[in-house]
Symmetry: D2
Subunit: 337 residues, 4 copies
Amino acid sequence: MIIVMKNYATQQQIKEVENKLIELGFKTHPIYGEIKTVIGAVGDKRLVDTRVLIDMTGVDSVIPIMKPYKLASREYKQEDSIVDVSGVEVGGKEVVVFAGPCAVENREYFFETAKYVKNAGAKILRGGAFKPRTSPYAFQGLQEDGLKMLAEAREMTGLKIVTEVMDPRDIELVSEYADIIQIGARNMQNFRLLQEIGASMKPVLLKRGISSTIEEWLMAAEYIMLEGNTDVILCERGIRTYETSTRNTLDLSAIPVVKEVSHLPVIVDPSHASGTWKYVSPMSKAAVAAGADGLIIEVHANPEKALCDGPQSLKPDTFGQLMSELQVIAGAVGRSM
Amino acid sequence: MIIVMKNYATQQQIKEVENKLIELGFKTHPIYGEIKTVIGAVGDKRLVDTRVLIDMTGVDSVIPIMKPYKLASREYKQEDSIVDVSGVEVGGKEVVVFAGPCAVENREYFFETAKYVKNAGAKILRGGAFKPRTSPYAFQGLQEDGLKMLAEAREMTGLKIVTEVMDPRDIELVSEYADIIQIGARNMQNFRLLQEIGASMKPVLLKRGISSTIEEWLMAAEYIMLEGNTDVILCERGIRTYETSTRNTLDLSAIPVVKEVSHLPVIVDPSHASGTWKYVSPMSKAAVAAGADGLIIEVHANPEKALCDGPQSLKPDTFGQLMSELQVIAGAVGRSM
Amino acid sequence: MIIVMKNYATQQQIKEVENKLIELGFKTHPIYGEIKTVIGAVGDKRLVDTRVLIDMTGVDSVIPIMKPYKLASREYKQEDSIVDVSGVEVGGKEVVVFAGPCAVENREYFFETAKYVKNAGAKILRGGAFKPRTSPYAFQGLQEDGLKMLAEAREMTGLKIVTEVMDPRDIELVSEYADIIQIGARNMQNFRLLQEIGASMKPVLLKRGISSTIEEWLMAAEYIMLEGNTDVILCERGIRTYETSTRNTLDLSAIPVVKEVSHLPVIVDPSHASGTWKYVSPMSKAAVAAGADGLIIEVHANPEKALCDGPQSLKPDTFGQLMSELQVIAGAVGRSM
Amino acid sequence: MIIVMKNYATQQQIKEVENKLIELGFKTHPIYGEIKTVIGAVGDKRLVDTRVLIDMTGVDSVIPIMKPYKLASREYKQEDSIVDVSGVEVGGKEVVVFAGPCAVENREYFFETAKYVKNAGAKILRGGAFKPRTSPYAFQGLQEDGLKMLAEAREMTGLKIVTEVMDPRDIELVSEYADIIQIGARNMQNFRLLQEIGASMKPVLLKRGISSTIEEWLMAAEYIMLEGNTDVILCERGIRTYETSTRNTLDLSAIPVVKEVSHLPVIVDPSHASGTWKYVSPMSKAAVAAGADGLIIEVHANPEKALCDGPQSLKPDTFGQLMSELQVIAGAVGRSM
């Protein structure tokens, strides 16, 4: 940590900051410049709320040097992590595709969709049973009936199952059905949920909050990992910006950034980011080209009948074509599919 | 709702959209322009996910006309709502000040702070017992012990109590102690929590999410109100923007906007928005001048010892001075304090 | 255009709005709903500032139906435009790479870089002679000496030349040297510059403003095109968001969006967006996979000696490797390189 | 400047960074932590592009300590600057109001508006003669005819005149008429324009760019001041965020931030920020309460006839009422009007 003193800070003020640092358990190394003095503070004190220093007289700013997360960092674990989802490896050489409808709703369409995505090469079936919806008037999901349909579809197709949990009280129930549990963007900082998922030992798909920094996202992963569960897959799903021509702005740069600072696998959700199916294919290809470990794509056998997010769902044939195009892209960046 | 057709839409496509609208329960009114055709669809169908229309061939865009919230809207209730917090009225002529430390931690400092803010004119005491923290390594709150201290401080000072709930399972416990329950920015779209607070009948202080639109914020209020609890106070606390010289950007324009579209009271939290105590006084005055119904301000008897958000807390004497300055501003805009 | 009336608008208010519309040259089509009345106004009146309507009593909102740009729109010209840059076609089947240093500075490094990028397959050489810099203390470019070096490098390598103009007074001079003129992000709404470039008939590389919407970007293109110059290539270069781990957030979704609403070619600048060379390769591949018509990449023979943007420049060998990887990606999306 | 080395940086890498720093003219002070080494570099080297350091092997990040602007900084000049606009002092005890229509257009309305705002207490008359417009199809201003009307209105009322310059070639002409020249938000980083205004010695009203940080804004002021012109007044006019219920988000926190880091006066434009006249009064009061040195408000004798920005203009009577309310607010914060 570096404490930058104001230009006109007195010797007495500098001394008081040093004393405070020593009290907090740091070793101090002042550097006296012509204009400014800065104080280097040596010590790994993640638990100290060092913002108290900024309030001391003569202090201009406090600059952290250590990243605030540890278990999620590349410095802590240098090799890439591979998360095993009931036998499907995410984070290895293969680019893994998660696909399915936004919500589990109509039995017939759901099984039809499941078979299609299986045949096209998806490995994991998505489908929401508990749905977070901006409007209280919107369809909220089939809940346990949805989970049962997911399990049935797994039985039928061999696909693994991912579904979302919104409430800590549902973790146990959902864990009985799902192979991997999704934490949605709106719950990325629902810390109780993170802690209890962390204690559950199920693999977790952790979506980035709609306005979360990459650092906050990794801190959310840290919450889970600190409880013992290290099977975390990150999912970039678009961030909120001023641009309105897409629902959110897919931040594909997050992929190389995450790969640099963390060892966790990262996949991309082009469907929620763009909000319209037309942009899903180009953005899927871009994600794989940028180094994503996987994709989660909305596919619906009959999007016009969907109760949720129909407009951003691919029809099965479009999805099938995309999957074959993605294979070539994956190959071009040294991955398989 | 207005459906805008593409320039080259055919008669057949227009007909199909009309049929779809009729199927969804709307009456249709096509307008044939020289270049474009638009179709007016009459009906108040909040439950219909009309996004399905955008996916139809020949459709360019779908424009909603009705606001997506109802109970929270000014159109539903034209007069201002006043929320009664155990006898303190928020939303009336008086500008109500909520004050206290970020978290309840040290017994001595807490009671000292409570007495100070009472004497300076605050009506409601804030203090977190359950703390949402970005870092799992940070202080997480005293939980029930904190609630007990809050109740003790109420006993001692007559101040009403506001404190945050992060988990639906804590609502019952917190309701025994608090006069008004806070939903924090990170939980503004924790829909389960909203619904269960909505069923609890305690007054609610609903903070705006860090990147929520005003519309989404009112939809969150709608979640609560739809369960029967109409005692909702909105709280603007800064939004996330690209500017880094303050922690968040306090969006004071939200006050006149909310006043125009909703009947709910709205207060402002200048402490979390700015992240540094120096900006709290000017922004508090600005909030009252802009028409806020109240303020929630962090005050700590000894900010340098605070385990949470010390740097943004006012010292008691600064707070006292601010309170007397605010009285003049309140008077200037026809309010009392 | 649709005028939405407030719920409680009177017949008289509706009549007055209709009269105003007729005065402005529109035909009116009111639709009376149970709750709201909306008025359809038929006519293509881009010149009318219809915001005056929103101020009329009883009006809730005014919704434009027509896009505000015309010449740049896909509706005006359905087939893709190809821009001829002294014989190099941008917007056709081939993905065209523009490469070179941020600024023309050191003679030796510049020519060395030019030869390298030529050999690696770039078609157009970039290099700034007039540099817009945030700080008045930073290197501002070699100006005409830089232009001469650019021309020399063209002579030597056969590469075409792109360079930036910041001031209308320099257009004539720069046009003598450059094959295509760049309008930088900071000047995207320097309307005088746009108009005079529009009159110059040189091909233009129009960068997106750092916080411009796609619509504003196309309006800037419209400024140029309206003067008669239709040879406009758009360039996505990252937008300003709250995320700080990259300099800007590269908005690759802009590619499919632009392709849908406009006929103009669009290329991507991954160097300025990311601000660090490590992210340039993955983002370049992603851009081509998403359908970009070209890339503009910073390459410097000796980045550590660069006076401008060294840290984001690729070294020649990294660039060479990227170019061969890009060929495979281009092939995978039906393009050549 | 602080150079943070990566955890696993070698002694050799640390040595090379030190050598590079010495070569750039810094004195080095390495601090060896248990996990990380950081190197303090002493020297005020604004001219060095130190980003080259970040590219060296073993370097994690480079942290600047000095602010990038100097003449505009509070550290350079501790007392508040007062800018004299032909006898009207901005930045002193008095809150100064600039008012008038967006554009000078209709002779009769313009003089009527000028007289009104004079009588209501405004000191400076605004009115655009050269208008930057997003659309090439919109009204672009009366140019020299507009300047003449401005001068005539000054003659008639005694008000001082502010008007915008968009092109360096117009500075001389506009300087003949205006008392203070406005640089609009879109031109805040038109560096040629800044430099030539800097050489002109006319007072400057420098609007903040729509997505500029406060630091970039002060760097723009530095461009002007470095040429010798220190009469710069800053103007906050709203920033671009994701929120769409106002045209931009007025960042009133910028006032106390600017007051802390700079000695320059700062005024606020609530009209362009909100985009609708209804929000202008509350935001004007908020701005004064937050410590603004002035306001620039759009007033139009007949907003419904305005060719530009009618919907955000106050009518004379609303403006008159606002002016009397502002006096009370100004008094409450120790200012006069």
